[in-house]
């Protein structure tokens, strides 16, 4: 059984890499979202010719500027979607780690007692599986939440709403950091990875 736990350790190492990628993607997403939100924020101001000051003298400006901002908004939106796509890949990889773990357990056919047994500080096989499963569900739910938030970005969004959405986006309510840390602590069982 110890051998199996070692195999799970490898999976957790891989999961940790995925989580690191996720947090890179998360900061990229936040940046993109705040850029998009600030464009949406200033579009109403840019739509008023009265606000153009000295640029009023140059007529084309009041048409070209909002147009260019809309263009960059659309560009940012498409890069947001590609970031989301990468996050989906991470959530899928975590799912695969979990389902592979389940397969592994099935093929070895440990007894129920073996599956529940802790060997010293080493966690039981069930704990290993559960940890992978929660990592997967956390990130999957968070991904779905992010997709929903991004859908709410539109030309009609109000700036207060966007600020609220942005804070939800950065909070990642589905991925409590201390729980993630706890999962890894249990697996590492005091070792430093």
């Amino acid at each position: 059984m110890e051998r199996l736990v070692k195999k799970f350790e490898q999976r957790y190492r891989r999961a940790r890499c995925h989580l690191a990628t996720w947090s890179d993607l998360q900061s990229r997403l936040l940046k993109q979202f705040s850029n998009a939100a600030s464009i949406l924020d200033r579009l109403p101001v840019l739509g008023e010719v009265e606000n153009y000051g000295i640029l009023k003298e140059v007529k084309s400006m009041a048409q070209v500027l909002p147009a260019s901002q809309i263009e960059s908004f659309e560009k940012i939106l498409s890069s947001i979607h590609s970031t989301l796509g990468e996050m989906e890949i991470i959530s899928k990889s975590l799912e695969k780690l979990w389902s592979d773990g389940t397969q592994l357990l099935k093929s070895e056919k440990p007894t129920r007692q073996q599956a529940q047994q802790w060997l010293g500080a080493q966690p039981s096989l069930n704990v290993c599986i559960d940890g992978l499963h929660s990592l997967y569900t956390m990130h999957h739910d968070e991904y779905l939440l992010k997709v929903a938030i991004v859908k709410a970005l539109s030309y009609n969004s109000r700036s207060e709403d966007m600020a609220a959405l942005q804070s939800v986006l950065s909070d990642q309510p589905n991925i409590p950091p201390d729980e993630v840390q706890h999962i890894f602590d249990v697996i590492a069982a005091g070792d430093v990875w």
Binding site: R42, N51, V58, M61, S68, S72
Partner: protein, 297 residues
């Protein structure tokens, strides 16, 4: 050209090198522009923020600090000094832009390769300066690489440079507006800040190449993003004198900052297209060329 076939044959490698180098330089100057432009936006933002704080200082609730003697005055003096610092940075970035554009302009005019000397002897030399009568430096219009003659490369470069020039005009207007925030009564004196000199030298450069610009103004609807494309520098300077009196509304400042940021006159997609076109031409077709700058461009 008088030298006959062999001169032609030898002209092409020299010209190819020249064209490749010129485009590499052009892109280098473009990234220098970008650096200055980013710096310009950030100092403009800082300047606007400082001036807005200054504006709302009198109505600001300072809480417990109200007790302190002359606190508002001190804050005011400090903010004013900060403003001046930001303005200085702003002007420095602007002159960085002018330098970058000047270099771009020079580069776009340095694509031709002229034959030096008579071209009759065993050694044929080339130069950047015309020396033989009747030699236009374009190899009598033959394709430099596979298809495009030299004037096509020049036109493409001109198109890119014209975008940046139009953008420089917009930025000039906005810089003069921001200047007037800090020194409201000195608005006309902006020209004495040394920027005018840059501007003049640039205009002179333009004047000597007047025919080239007229080629471009022939197709404004195709490429122009805004009216700045067709405006002369004197028209732009005339515009700065027209500025409405009174404080700028904060929404207007927002528009200004967005304009500085967006660089609407620089059509990135078009530049990308041009770059690809030039790269394909300079790299794809002549595989055995000595100097390859393929990826650098």
């Amino acid at each position: 050209m008088s030298g006959g076939r062999s001169v032609h044959r030898l002209w092409r490698p020299a010209a190819q090198r020249q064209v490749r180098n010129a485009w590499a330089m052009l892109h280098a100057h473009r990234s220098a522009w970008t650096t200055s432009s980013v710096a310009l936006v950030s100092s403009a933002t800082a300047l606007v923020n400082a001036s807005l704080s200054l504006r709302y200082l009198q109505s600001m609730d300072l809480g417990v600090l109200e007790e302190m003697d002359g606190i508002r005055n001190k804050v005011q003096v400090k903010l004013q000094r900060q403003q001046e610092g930001f303005l200085e940075q702003l002007l420095a970035s602007y002159s960085g832009l002018v330098t970058a554009l000047n270099l771009m302009l020079q580069t776009s005019k340095s694509m031709r390769t002229y034959i030096k000397g008579s071209g009759d002897g065993p050694i044929i030399e080339f130069s950047n300066e015309p020396s033989v009568a009747g030699d236009n430096g374009d190899g009598a219009g033959v394709p430099v690489f596979a298809t495009l003659p030299l004037c096509a490369f020049e036109m493409l470069a001109d198109e890119v440079v014209a975008m940046y020039e139009a953008e420089l005009k917009v930025k000039w207007l906005l810089v003069s507006e921001l200047y007037s925030i800090v020194y409201p009564e000195a608005k006309v004196n902006l020209s004495q800040e040394g920027l005018e000199n840059f501007c003049k030298s640039e205009m002179e450069f333009r004047d000597t190449t007047e025919e080239k610009t007229s080629l471009l103004t022939g197709l404004p609807n195709l490429v122009a993003k805004s009216d700045f494309w067709n405006m002369s520098w004197s028209q732009v300077i005339e515009l700065t004198k027209k500025r409405p009196n009174g404080e700028l509304h904060r929404d207007t400042l927002q528009v200004y900052l967005t304009t500085l940021l967006a660089e609407v006159n620089i059509d990135k997609n078009r530049i990308e297209d041009i770059t690809v076109m030039v790269n394909d031409e300079t790299n794809g077709v002549v595989p055995s060329s000595p100097t390859r700058i393929s990826k650098a461009i």
